[in-house]
Amino acid sequence: MDPISKFLSDQSHRIPIGPWGKAFFTFLTDNFNTVFRAFSNSLNFLLDGIVDGLLLLPPVLLIALIALLAYFLQRSKGLALAVFLGLLFILNQNLWKQTVETLVLVVAAAAASMAIGVPLGIWAAHKPKVYRFMLPVLDLMQTLPTFVYLIPVLTLFGLGNAPGLIVTIIFVIPTSVRLTHLGVTSVPKSIVEAGEAFGATKRQLLWKVELPSALPTIMAGLTQSIMLSLSMVVFAALIGAGGLGTEINRALGSRRIDLGLEAGLAIVVLAIVLDRMTRIGVGGKK
């Protein structure tokens, strides 16, 4: 072996990335355990409460309400009917409880990542320097294999819906940041200048010019966030988040093709329903 390779692979020279990371998380668990646990307990309580509340309603009534919401969002009777039939199919497959759990998790994750991601995206769009620092972090969040951050999240927050929600948010936020950034930076210069020339304050410029102009892109970010959240459902189930993901993991563990197919189709139906319902302002009114 050549001397450089030999030197580098000598284990006494190894850069202790793993131990550092472990030490960092040990430090967090040792000192702030109560904080993290309190946070995850209240989050679990909240999510479970919403799920239980929704399950109190007769399934057909809830399905009808969702179909009605679809109609009000998109003004399309066809869509409302499709939503109604799709969700009835899930009910028919006896996966309603799991679907509601997944639905709550996905909607919460998408809402939280929009609530955090949109302001971050606006900030990054106004400050190119900030974006330059943000970019590698976003790349890391999207490319680091999910299993790798399942472990620390598990140690910090324990099992349950809350850690499932947190890993989903970590995975989804970059999308809403990126699309918001794209939307705001691609507002035509001529209309920004028009706003400035007529004496807009920074805030007026944001609310009356930049955000309306970026809205279609930001809404595409919402749709993407929901889709990505759904794709995280199976992983989140590994650390105790309930729902359809649990069914799929169980099907995998016991090699049940039938169960896997049923739960998988339910996710697909849910994905299509949510996607069509949230296409607001994307190729909308002409």
Partner: protein, 393 residues
């Protein structure tokens, strides 16, 4: 006349090394040299220009000459590196370069409005919402705003289109919306950055005419950027020609055409039809330069075919052509006059050269006299004066 906007030694440099670039400007470096040495782009240098109230002042030049850059200094869309831009604000003036943000916003909302080449309309808003933008930003209550917007839309004949979205309109209509938006704030100063360049020629001419009509009523101070000399000559009361970021010549349209300052300006005007600019005043010979005879007789032309007898008040007492008595008739009536040798036409200083030529044609190349408002004789135009003006010799 009150000064509305006063540019004083304005330098604008885009880039990081402001101090280095300004030093190069002072040493007379060109834009290319500054770019090479500092990496900065020279917007404009040493620009001084005074725009009076009620004027249409046109900034002219090829693309990259700095005309838009200078215009955008008035509402600080471009930041001035050095110099002053004084804008009239009520009874006082404000230096836009140094004023604080609040003052700048007030100026933009109430004193200076702008019309853009690419219209700059907000596509998700209806026409009336676009027109009301400036008023909305200034915090005007909705009822008052609606009334003002309605009035403006009527002014530009778009009241039928109030509820349409901007992108549903043709280019010409969109720019009318842009105009209405600028007029709606009732700002006395209007910045127009090549507003008609993106329109096809017929619509462009129509909007120019409409602008002139509106201006006759509204009497705004307009700074207008154009790269089209015909347009500048048509609408400008003053024209400023820029090259490479510097002002080359400022003057009335006919000054530019008759006395171009250098070859750049001469190239610019080479294709301009002098008939569309020049007036009788520009080509006449002053009465003092004419040949005087006895008893108050004055020869109007060098060939001595026509003479006037001028009384002590400067009025014409008698006319003679080819030795026979003649009548003198206004150019304004030239169309209705029979062609005959016994008449001499007269014009006012503002009469177009075209009309003067028509009068000469009708009177078999007789000279045309020039009278002032009180009908006093001030000068004459012979055929040679016309020919040399048209040929620019």
């Amino acid at each position: 006349m009150t000064v509305a906007v006063d540019f004083r030694n304005v330098d604008i440099v885009f880039g990081a090394d402001q101090a280095g670039s300004l030093a190069l400007i002072d040493s007379g470096a060109t834009r290319a040299e500054i770019l090479e040495k500092t990496g900065n782009v020279l917007g404009c240098a040493g620009a001084s220009l005074t725009v009076h109230e009620g004027e249409i002042s046109v900034l002219m030049g090829l693309s990259g000459s700095g005309k838009s850059t200078l215009l955008r200094a008035v509402n600080r869309l471009n930041v001035v590196s050095r110099g002053q831009v004084l804008v009239k604000d009520g009874d006082g003036t404000v230096d836009v370069v140094t004023c604080d943000e609040a003052t700048l916003r007030r100026l933009r909302q109430k004193q200076v409005a702008m019309v853009f080449q690419q219209f700059g309309l907000l596509p998700w808003r209806t026409v009336e919402e676009n027109v009301g933008l400036g008023l909305e930003l200034a915090g005007m209550p909705e009822a008052e705003r609606k009334a003002r917007v309605k009035k403006q839309l009527e002014l530009v004949h778009l009241d039928q289109w109030a509820k349409k979205y901007a992108h549903e309109l043709s280019g010409g209509m969109q720019q009318r919306v842009g105009l209405a938006r600028a007029f709606a704030t009732e700002a006395p100063i209007l910045l127009m950055d090549e507003p008609f360049s993106a329109l096809d020629p017929l619509i462009r001419t129509k909007l120019q005419d409409e602008l002139l009509q509106l201006q006759a009523e509204l009497k705004k101070t307009i700074i207008f950027v154009s790269h089209d000399l015909e347009e500048a000559l048509k609408i400008g009361s003053h024209i400023t020609i820029m090259e490479g970021g510097r002002i080359v010549q400022t003057g009335a349209p006919e000054d530019i055409v008759l006395r171009p300052a250098n070859d750049y300006v001469r190239d610019f005007i080479a294709n301009v039809n002098p008939l569309s600019v020049l007036t009788a005043w520009n080509v006449m010979r002053d009465r003092r330069d004419l040949e005087h005879g006895k008893d108050g007789w004055v020869w109007l032309d060098r060939r001595k075919t026509t003479r006037f007898k001028i009384d002590e008040h400067g009025l014409v007492a008698a006319a003679e052509r080819d030795g026979k008595p003649a009548v003198w008739v206004s150019c304004a009536d030239v169309e209705g006059q029979p062609e005959e040798a016994a008449q001499v036409f007269w014009a006012n200083p503002g009469t177009s050269l075209k009309t003067v030529m028509l009068a000469m044609h009708r009177s078999q190349t007789a000279p045309v006299a020039l009278f002032d408002d009180q009908s006093r004789f001030v000068g004459a135009i012979g055929i040679r004066d016309v020919l040399s003006a048209v040929l620019r010799r």
